[in-house]
Subunit: 520 residues, 2 copies
């Protein structure tokens, strides 16, 4: 009879680094449970399950926080650092550099401040919803002030970076930006955004004055939602999303969640007259998802080597598939045929060129998320300038609507009708996310610069795309970007891959050529 | 500026009982996270997510186990018991009686035995899958032996109940049964199953010899799966499943998961020629789900007062909706019209009576899960007798196929062609579930006895059903069964609701009348 004797085998680990990897994996597993229930909340959960779900998420994130800030983890990191110095393995050292960064950041915020920030985000979001609904900025103002105050306090806890000789003076905002885009600074952002803005503003004016008016009609054909879903799945599968390791569902706001090894989920939304919007969103989320699927999670889940570098790099993957692939002429030479196979003659009359133009119209819009590829960046620059000004105290939150509207007039040529469609449109500030906005345009910038570098390795890229052969593109991204995880900083990766630091040049070239092709 | 001062407010609780409720709720919240990811695994998870999911589930169940067996919980229970003696509140005392029961059981098993059982279930399940596939009992035999040995050891840890004067001598099996059907014993089961079996065996013979052969054809019409889903949702909504607090999805093996307040999920499966099977399964799972939705979880989630009494009582709810409602003539008078509205003329030629008969054919089947309402119970009795004999040592697991096949011949009139369709058909023993099978027939027995009691309060029940008015039936179940949670034991509840202890009479009356109605 196989009895169940008590056995206690002393497990002797190979190294503190192996113990650290085990601890990090356990934390990541727990955290990934939070991802599953977060995904479920947006896609599957019945309405009345919301109260329980809030308790569940709080329980899991509490457990994760305790372990991410534990003394035990700190000791394992220190022991691993000593151990690694002797090994001298560059990959191990890079991994530990990032583990240390995460731990130090996690332990720098006092629990009381975290609680205050959480509370402000929760109540502030309710106030914002109400303010936006009624286009009543005053209702949101106290929360906006408080959000900026708490962000400043958070920045102080993280610590303002030390001044470097020859570099611009560090500012409070840097510590906030660093949370989403490590090592990036406000000054550097300014230096990249500035010249880009100078060129984009006149481009928008010239498009507005252009006599060429391509038709949007092919993108507005009404098509059955189930057919749209079929089409979108087909394209996502073709570009390389692995459905056996993921899902695509529906949610009010599309998102991608890299739950863990073998499980990456994205969502989309559909409108009868928006089949190309659904496609764009699906390709965007697939870009995020394929990055997640390409990170070496099978080998080292929970370690920085299997994590995304920054929001900017993550966004570069989504923007590349959405804009540089999905809005290209080559793509539509293939995509039109695919669309015909699914939708039949309903989209049949439009040529590849008609479709290409229809998805590339440039029309300044009040609303960021409805903006074209060009105007979008002006929206981001506006938000970056204003949040930076509010953080460093050069602008009073009270003046937000006025400054916002003036800029919309100057840069976009638009008169903002109300704050609902102006400074109250985005959720970010109400959620306490300050320093987040610039990463969207970093994504566009990195994408364009990577895209040019890729062209050197794949000179026949356009004809590949025309034939629907996306494998070499994904393989290039896997090898040059995904496989590294957080081994290199975003800036270092950029230099390795493109041979130069991030600049506005590639994106500008891309946008100029786009305007030329669409508007002549 | 709202600063984040550290505040430590000493929370003074109202009573140890309130603290206990809080602790139990926290444990239940954590456990419910396990339910969500368990549900997700069966319905949504991509194939390659399986390895991570195993780690996630182990992590959560480990955390739950630690808290369910903690010293802290034990102390809170003891303090609450002293406190409650003074209050004398019957509901509180009942709640604590069950909390104590759970805690004592959870702390009685040594971790090493739990690990051994888990390992045996995991490896045994793989061996069983292989054995079943090849119809090779010998491959499963070592695991079956080990399963029975471990079950016996588990029973010893739980402790065999003390002999009661006048009652039959307690046996090892009782401690196993008690896990699924508290307070039930093998002797009592025998006393109920015995006379039932004596009557069912000749009934099956008489049906086999009957000249009346109702047609199964109306149940085998091929209908589109999406229409079947629409029909099934319609019926589940009509009988009272609250979709705003739940979901119905698909999975290989249908199940119901009561995740927590506001979130109860069930699944179904579909076959083109099995629309009434899909309906039966949906009504079955709805029965489970409506019990979950009817438990007072909003008030006391995590406490026994908001939990199901036993598997038998749970099963009584599913069997009642599946068999006593869904296989009744009255139901089909309404159901035929509903079916016509969804399916159109494809089911239109069958009369309500044709449909009633088609879903009530009695044909002994080798396979338990494909058996009719009558034969099903003989399958359960067979398994109960054999697992009991293996546990008390009166039968050697080696002899299982021989004994199994002999009984199938005697009771069912069937010659078992191979062990795959014989003693290897069920997953239960390979999963370590010994003492579980009888609860299926307890469900049928309780359902029939409750159904007769309900008839006294709802004399016009048949005409309600014919009009599709199921509200009064559900309201009766809510009030008499669901609302109590585990306040009363199954047997006590049965006496309260029906005026007498559980017997075979009501089920026998129901089955006899069914045979009369269908076979004349």
């Amino acid at each position: 009879m196989p009895s169940a004797k008590k056995k206690r085998v002393a497990v002797r680990s190979k190294s503190p680094y192996a113990d650290l990897a085990k601890e990090l994996r356990e934390i990541a597993v727990l955290s990934s449970v939070g991802s599953v229930i977060g995904w479920d909340q947006e896609t599957m959960m019945p309405d009345r399950g919301a109260a329980l779900r809030a308790e569940q998420r709080e329980a899991i994130s509490g457990l994760v926080h305790v372990r991410r800030t534990s003394r035990k983890l700190g000791d394992l990191i220190s022991a691993s650092e000593s151990w690694a110095k002797r090994s001298g393995d560059a990959k191990v050292l890079a991994n530990l550099r990032e583990v240390r960064r995460d731990y130090d950041r996690a332990t720098k915020l006092p629990a009381s401040l975290v609680a205050e920030i959480t509370r402000c985000a929760s109540l502030g979001m309710e106030a914002w919803k109400d303010a936006r609904k009624n286009s009543d900025f005053k209702k949101f103002l106290p929360w906006l002030k408080k959000t900026m105050d708490l962000a400043r306090e958070k920045a102080r806890c993280y610590g303002i970076p030390k001044p470097t000789r020859g570099a611009p003076k560090p500012e409070v905002y840097d510590a906030l930006l660093d949370e989403y885009e490590p090592d990036m600074t406000a000054a550097r952002t300014d230096a990249i955004f500035g010249p880009l803005r100078e060129r984009l503003v006149p481009m928008i004016e010239s498009v507005a004055g252009s006599r060429s008016k391509p038709s949007e009609a092919p993108a507005r054909v009404r098509l059955p939602i189930d057919k749209q879903k079929e089409f979108v799945r087909r394209v996502c599968g073709a570009i390389g999303f692995q459905f056996e390791s993921g899902r695509m569902d529906e949610s009010a706001h599309p998102f991608c969640e890299g739950i863990g090894p073998g499980d990456t989920r994205m969502t989309n939304r559909y409108r009868a007259d928006g089949w190309t919007d659904a496609l764009g969103t699906a390709m965007h989320e697939s870009g995020h998802a394929m990055y997640e699927q390409g990170l070496p999670k099978d080998e080292c889940f929970g370690q920085p080597l299997a994590e995304a570098i920054s929001l900017g790099i993550h966004e570069s993957q989504s923007r590349m598939w959405e804009n540089l692939v999905g809005r290209s002429r080559a793509f539509w030479k293939w995509g039109r045929g695919e669309a015909r196979q699914v939708f039949g003659d309903s989209v049949g009359r439009a040529s590849a060129d008609d479709l290409y133009k229809a998805v590339n119209l440039i029309r300044p819009n009040f609303i960021r998320v409805e903006s074209d590829e060009l105007t979008y960046n002006l929206h981001i620059m506006l938000r970056f300038d204003l949040e930076r000004a509010m953080i460093n105290g050069s602008m009073n939150p009270r003046d937000l609507p006025e400054v916002w509207n003036r800029r919309l007039k100057n840069d976009f040529g638009l008169t903002v009708p109300d704050d609902r469609r102006g400074c109250l449109q985005d959720v970010h500030w109400s959620a306490g996310l300050v320093g987040y906005f610039p990463t969207y345009t970093f994504g566009n910038l990195y994408a364009a610069q990577f895209w040019e570098a890729m062209a050197r390795d794949l000179p026949k890229r356009d004809s590949l795309i025309e034939r629907g052969e996306f494998g070499p593109i994904l393989a290039w991204l896997r090898k040059n970007i995904h496989a590294h995880g957080r081994r290199y900083s975003a800036e270092d990766l950029c230099k390795r891959v493109t041979g130069k630091p991030l600049t506005h040049d590639a994106l500008l070239r891309h946008l100029e050529s786009k305007v030329r092709n669409v508007y002549g």
